[in-house]
C-alpha cells in the first residue's frame, strides 16, 4: 500500500541542523533503514516555511489568493514522504523512526487513495 507521511511540528523550533557539505543529511540513516526493510521511498521532501505559503480558493466567480497556510496552528506541515509498504503497521514503524518523530514532531500517516 501507498502512504503519505505528513511531517508536522513547530516551525519555531530549530529545524534539522544544517549539515556541512561533506556530512550526510539527518534523514539519510532513516532512508537506509527503510530501504533495508523493503519500504519503498517513492518521493519526499522538506518544505519551505509557512511564511512562503499561499492559499488559493476559487469562489466560482473569482480566485481568492491569500498569504499563509490553510490553518494558523502551532503545528505546521514541515515536509512529506510518500512510501510504499505492506500495511499500516509498517507505515507506523516508518513514521516512528523518522527524524521528525524522533525530535518531538508528529507524523500523520495517510493512505493514498489507490489509483485504478
Amino acid at each position: 500500500m501507498r502512504y503519505m507521511l505528513l511531517m508536522c511540528g513547530n516551525e519555531e523550533d530549530d529545524g534539522p541542523a544544517a549539515h556541512a557539505e561533506d556530512e550526510e543529511p539527518c534523514w539519510m540513516p532513516w532512508a537506509r533503514e527503510m530501504q533495508a526493510r523493503g519500504v519503498l521511498l517513492v518521493e519526499g521532501s522538506q518544505l519551505q516555511p509557512t511564511s512562503t505559503a499561499t492559499t488559493v480558493r476559487n469562489s466560482g466567480s473569482e480566485i481568492l489568493v491569500a498569504d499563509g497556510p490553510f490553518a494558523e496552528t502551532k503545528e505546521q506541515i514541515l515536509g512529506y514522504d510518500v512510501i510504499e509498504c505492506t500495511d499500516l503497521d509498517e507505515a507506523i514503524y516508518a513514521a516512528s523512526r523518522h527524524p521528525v518523530a524522533l525530535n518531538g514532531g508528529v507524523v500523520e500517516v495517510r493512505p493514498v487513495l489507490a489509483s485504478v
Binding site: 500500500m1 502512504y3 505492506t86 500495511d87 499500516l88 507505515a91 507506523i92 500517516v109 493512505p111
Partner: protein
C-alpha cells in the same frame, strides 16, 4: 426451544467468532463476512431441524458461510468481486501455521485487529463485541447507552478504516507483540469494568458485559497459553466477579469490601481464579494483571476482613506501582499500609499524596482520608473529609455511601 434451536443457540456461543474470523481471512471483507455468518446461522435453524444437527457444527457453519460468500461474489459482476472470488477459492478453510507455536486461530488474528491502536478505544470495544462475541449493533448500543444509529456509524467507520488504511489481519510479529497484547488485554478489562460498574437491574435488556469480557478472556488465555498476563487478566476478572453478588445490598447500595457477606462470594470462581493465577505466576513474568489478581486473591482468601494479609497487599501494590507508576495505586497502597502498620502510617502517605496534587478532584482521595480519620476516631476531621468527598463523588450509590458515613461521624 426445539433441539435444533438449542443446538443453534449453543453453536452461536461457541462458533460465531470463529466463523466470522475465518470468513474475514478468506474474503478480506468484514461486512460480507458478518452477513454471510449471520445467513449461515439462519440457514442452520431450518436445515438442522429437518436434517438433524451435523457432527461438527462449526465446520458446517464455516462451509455454509463460505459458500454463501462465493454465491454473493459470483452474482456481483464487478471486477473487484471476481478477484475476491478467486481469492476465496484459493484460501484454505483451516488457517496457515504461524511461527513455531503451531496453528494460529483466526480468532486471535481478529482480536488483535479489532484492538489495533490506530482505532479509537470506543471502536475497538464495539468491534470486539460485534465480531468476536456476536452481539448485535442494537445490543452494543444499549450496553454503552448510545443510540443504535451512533453505534452503527462507529462500527462502519472502524471497518472502513481497517480496509482503507491497511490495518493488517494478523497476530503481530514478535517485536510488536508485547505492546499489542497489552492493547488487547486493556480492551477486555475495560469491557469487564464497564459491566462491573453498571448498576444491576437498571436495564434488563442491557447485555452482561462482564460475562462477555470473561468469555473473551477465557478465549484469549486459551489462544495465548504462553502469555501469563492473559491468564492473569482472566484470574483478575474471575476474582472480582466472584464478589459481585455481595457488592450491592437489597436497596442497590454499595457494600464496602469490609462489610460484604463473604458467604455470598462465589467460591467456585475464586478457586478457578486462584488456580489460574498460581499457574501464571509460576512463569516468573509477573505483570500488572497478575499483580492485581494477586491482590484480589489476598482479599478472596481471607475468611474475614480482619484476617486479610494487608502487609502482603501493601507489598503487591508497591510492586505494581514500580511497573506502572500511578497515584491511584499509591492511594491503594496507603490503605494497605494503614491496615498493616497502623492508621497513622497510612494517613501520612495519603497526606503526602494530597500534597503532591496528583489526585486533585478524585473523590476517593478525601474519601480514603475520611475513612482513616473515622477509624482513628478523629470525627470532626473525618466529617470535613467526607463532605469534601461528597462534593466530588460521581454517582448516586457512592454519594449515598458517603452520606451514611458522614451521618455516623457527625451524629
Amino acid at each position: 426451544m426445539t433441539d435444533a434451536q438449542a443446538a443453534v443457540a449453543e453453536a452461536f456461543q461457541q462458533e460465531w467468532g470463529k466463523v466470522v474470523a475465518t470468513l474475514i481471512r478468506m474474503t478480506g471483507d468484514w461486512d460480507l463476512a458478518e452477513e454471510c455468518t449471520q445467513d449461515a446461522f439462519t440457514t442452520a435453524l431450518t436445515r438442522w431441524a429437518s436434517d438433524g444437527v451435523p457432527d461438527r457444527p462449526g465446520a458446517w457453519l464455516t462451509t455454509t458461510a463460505r459458500n454463501r460468500a462465493l454465491d454473493r461474489l459470483r452474482r456481483s459482476k464487478t471486477e473487484a468481486a471476481k478477484l475476491q472470488e478467486v481469492a476465496v477459492l484459493s484460501v484454505p478453510e483451516e488457517p496457515a501455521p504461524w511461527g513455531d507455536s503451531g496453528v494460529t486461530d483466526d480468532r486471535l488474528r481478529l482480536m488483535f485487529t479489532c484492538c489495533h491502536p490506530a482505532l479509537t478505544l470506543e471502536a475497538r470495544v464495539a468491534l470486539t463485541l460485534r465480531t468476536l462475541a456476536g452481539l448485535t449493533t442494537a445490543e452494543i448500543a444499549r450496553a454503552f447507552l448510545v443510540p443504535e444509529a451512533t453505534m452503527a456509524k462507529r462500527l462502519t467507520r472502524a471497518k472502513h478504516k481497517i480496509r482503507d488504511a491497511g490495518i493488517p489481519y494478523r497476530v503481530p510479529p514478535a517485536h510488536l507483540l508485547p505492546e499489542r497484547t497489552n492493547g488487547v488485554l486493556g480492551v477486555l478489562y475495560l469491557l469487564f469494568n464497564e459491566g462491573y460498574s453498571a448498576s444491576a437491574g437498571e436495564d434488563l435488556l442491557r447485555p452482561d458485559l462482564s460475562a462477555e469480557a470473561i468469555r473473551l478472556g477465557r478465549l484469549l488465555a486459551q489462544l495465548m497459553p504462553d502469555e501469563p498476563e492473559a491468564a492473569g487478566l482472566l484470574a483478575l476478572m474471575l476474582l472480582q466477579d466472584a464478589r459481585s453478588a455481595a457488592r450491592l445490598d437489597d436497596a442497590g447500595d454499595l457494600v464496602s469490601l469490609e462489610d460484604q457477606e463473604r458467604s455470598r462470594w462465589d467460591g467456585a470462581r475464586i478457586a478457578e481464579g486462584i488456580r489460574l493465577l498460581e499457574a501464571a505466576l509460576r512463569r516468573q513474568r509477573a505483570g500488572p494483571y497478575q499483580l492485581q489478581a494477586a491482590i484480589a486473591a489476598c482479599h478472596a482468601e481471607a475468611a474475614s476482613s480482619g484476617d486479610t494479609d494487608w502487609a502482603q497487599i501493601a507489598l503487591l501494590y508497591g510492586e505494581l506501582h514500580r511497573i506502572v507508576p500511578s497515584a491511584v495505586i499509591e492511594l491503594n497502597r496507603a490503605v494497605a499500609v494503614a491496615m498493616a502498620d497502623g492508621f497513622e502510617a497510612g494517613l501520612a502517605l495519603v497526606d503526602e499524596l494530597a500534597a503532591s496534587g496528583q489526585l486533585t478532584g478524585y473523590y476517593l482521595l478525601p474519601a480514603t482520608r475520611a475513612d482513616l480519620l473515622r477509624r482513628m476516631e478523629r470525627h470532626a476531621e473525618a466529617a470535613a473529609s467526607y463532605r469534601e468527598a461528597l462534593e466530588l463523588a460521581p454517582t448516586d450509590p457512592e454519594r449515598r455511601y458517603l452520606a451514611r458515613r458522614l451521618a455516623e461521624v457527625a451524629g
